[in-house]
Symmetry: C2
Subunit: 488 residues, 2 copies
């Protein structure tokens, strides 16, 4: 036990080293483990359950909007990847290849899918012939591979889990509408379920998905001020339709290319959630995704435990019956040790009952988000807990929103000002955050910002808090107002 | 349309060529498609939805029995596979290998997992130290690869989807109990949800999972009399614990190896369900898994359609509100064409409404399983449909059970009798079915049966309908009563 107590104490403070803090909390929170395969992690049960709840929330909304799930082969023939030029250039450097199987060398190498536009494009070309075959609205839950140099658990791993939607439409308008609809679903799930505020917006051309006409994203701010691209939705135009010859006979008897979209979110959402809500005491999980929403801990002298358990057990059953994900910690450790442990694991609410609480007909509730403790009449506990879980969910979103707003800088207008801001933040060990900047639209200006500050364009928000007039790099008239920041 | 009408007519009769019948119905039923990757198929939405319902039914039961989901890397280092001798011998011939990634040759080849005992064994050795860490009860939903020579959609594909449970226990007794518990869950889901009767039993040593101490299975009879192993549960003893050094400090302060189990079911259940229930008219899907449970079709002259739709639309809404998976077919095709189409797709119930039905306040219901048609008062339709779906589910199970019993031969006692039986069946173009036979326990006798008849041992049923006294091959005293048949 002594060891484990030390573990809890050993979480590196965020202010000291955010990356080490992150690794500490996900390991001590038992969410993942490293494996001997380069960049591949195990999603342990508590980590995987977060993904299951994200899946549930996403999948329901996909189906409500008419999408159905399917499953396509993981292995992609090399020749498929070649069919869309930008696509292969974008993904080729990161691909793992199967070159032999069942004792024989393969005639053509097979890539482990980095994404499935090519395989699905090929199949759609077989399935789509007439306007009556459209739209095709399919999603896939799958593992994907990107053999990247630097990996980070959940945020960037060689193998990760995701969903990828792939749709085909008769018209550009309908495909563009689909792209926006799915981006909005992503925003809704990420804000409402994961309590992470995001900016919806358009990626600049340099940050587009390889092969897309337009890429849209939702972008979230971590507690170190860096950004995570939390979901993307692409309007692919006719690019893949041309590469894979996906044509249909329209009502006007003309043979036309379909317009396709694709959209994805992945297990990096787990990492984002941790970096948005966690603190120096450990994980902090929003009630809607927390594997355990309430942990019940009996307190007081062991010789009075029986008396406590007489109230403890029925309350546990009542909470479970009310659909609360409740867990009882009846281990031998001290209450204090358990409090630390469950705080570290991010459980939103702790419930304590001791002999004196029983006498008073009360229980004590402690919130992970605010640290607040309160006594509640035992016969009102179930109702109160339901309310508190909602309140915590909302409060966690509001806290994240305040943090984001506090670290979003709207009045930096030149590269010099930006550099000064970054230098100041570094000197004072403060979070540099995001900067809203004007951009003339030239790649060169975007590159200049990146080279000189490591800030990259996140997206061009649909509804920027202010509109910028001049390009941060060249001072010319701005065409766009863009979020810039460091990013994962 | 003419084309599609022809398609329906073109289902090869089961009696003519069962394999061709199978391919016809899964393609025309839109469940799958072939791909250019050898032995890999697309699970199309209607096929994948069957898998989603199986997943739902399994996953709920896994969780109710204390298991949690996790996710382990798909790529397995070659050295891991070497650690359990029988295991590597069993799987090595079927493995695809990643040999290069991101432009570089890998130092060690990585196999695409055929199953995950080795990767999970390695991780468990890191996680398990004390008796307090036990039991570990983890399941994984994943894609797996077995590069086999002969493939068949759903039943045997190079890539398939499955769940694999992996548990570790302090004692042999507990591990054996787990093995049996999971086998019983498989039986329950396959019988109650897929309406497929199965025999629970033990595999003979020659048919054991590579590396297991004991393998248990549920075995189902297809309509061509062949068997499908529909699920397996393995007691692995200390084999993998020794290979991967999974030890724990027990209460008695002794360092001991854990006892592990593994158990799996896969997308081959989809294929089994089709081969158990389908007929010459096409698919027949049990209501509990059918993507569409009721298809509603308006009939009668188009000029009276409006009158029909006044009753049609509210009934559709009522059924949906009652949780029935209902679909309306309002296409322009003739009712007769639609009837064929939905019969072919295996929808359990068809609902027709025409103008005369409206006058009488009735609807007509037609059952896929019996062909029976009945008029039902429209205001009782929702209730009646709920009852009928239950009835159809039960009837499909009973039909499959009768078929199985009719083709299970209990009184064949010698190899000569078995050969005679098979020859007779072939001559009369009848289903040879299964044979319950005595077995002395010698591998040589089991092999002899296989070589001379192509009948392989399926399992040693826990509760055989009769007990056999002598070995079918050598005539010596039987140690076991075994199901033999041809198998997929």
């Amino acid at each position: 036990m002594a060891d484990e107590k030390k573990f809890v104490k050993e979480i590196t403070p965020q202010s000291e080293d955010f990356s080490r803090w992150y690794i500490d909390v996900i390991r001590k929170g038992d969410l993942m483990d490293y494996t001997p395969v380069r960049g591949c992690i195990v999603f342990k049960p508590d980590g995987f359950e977060l993904w299951e709840r994200i899946q549930e929330a996403m999948d329901r909304r996909f189906k409500e909007t008419g999408h159905r799930n399917a499953y396509f082969p993981m292995l992609i023939p090399e020749s498929f990847l070649q069919k869309e030029k930008e696509h292969v250039e974008g993904f080729n450097p990161e691909l793992p290849w199967v070159t032999e199987a069942a004792g024989e060398k393969l005639e053509e190498r097979l890539a482990l899918r980095p994404t499935s536009e090519t395989m699905i494009g090929h199949m759609y070309s077989q399935w789509i012939h007439s306007h009556r075959d459209l739209p095709v609205l399919i999603n896939q839950w799958a593992n994907v591979f990107r053999w990247e140099k630097r990996t980070m658990p959940f945020l960037r791993t060689s193998e990760f889990l995701w969903q990828e939607g792939h749709t085909a439409h008769a018209t550009e308008g309908e495909a563009r509408q689909e792209t926006m609809q799915m981006l909005e679903i992503y925003r809704e799930v990420v804000e409402q379920v994961l309590a992470i505020p995001v900016w919806k917006g358009q990626k600049t051309p340099s940050e587009r998905f390889a092969g897309a006409v337009e890429t849209y994203s939702i972008e979230a701010m971590m507690k170190d001020g860096k950004a995570v691209q939390a979901g993307t939705s692409h309007y692919l135009g006719e690019n893949f339709a041309k590469g894979f010859d996906i044509k249909f006979l329209d009502r006007d008897n003309q043979l036309k290319y379909v317009h396709t979209t694709s959209w994805g979110t992945s297990t990096r959402l787990i990492g984002s959630m941790i970096m948005v809500h966690g603190d120096d005491r450990g994980l902090a999980l929003p009630p809607r995704v927390a594997p355990t929403q309430v942990v019940m801990i009996p307190v007081g002298p062991v010789k009075l435990r029986e008396k406590v358990m007489e109230r403890f057990d029925p309350l546990f059953d009542d909470l479970q019956a009310a659909g609360v994900r409740v867990r009882a910690d009846l281990r031998e450790e001290t209450p204090g040790w358990k409090f630390n442990e469950w705080e570290m694991r991010g459980v939103p609410l702790r419930l304590e009952i001791g002999p004196r609480d029983v006498d008073k007909g009360e229980v004590v509730l402690a919130r992970r988000d605010t640290g607040e403790k309160m006594a509640v009449a035992i016969d009102q506990a179930v109702e109160k807990i339901g309310e508190l879980l909602e309140e915590i969910q909302e409060n966690m979103f509001q806290k994240a929103l305040s943090f984001r707003n506090d670290h979003s800088h709207l009045h930096i207008n030149t590269l010099e000002e930006l550099k000064g801001h970054i230098t100041r933040a570094e000197k004072e060990a403060k979070v540099a955050g995001w900067v809203l900047a004007g951009w003339c639209g030239e790649d060169a200006c975007e590159s200049k910002v990146k080279e000189e500050t490591k800030f990259t364009s996140r997206n061009i928000p649909f509804e920027p808090p202010v509109t910028k007039e001049t390009c941060i790099a060249c001072g010319q008239k701005a065409q766009h107002t863009v979020w810039f920041s460091r990013a994962y």
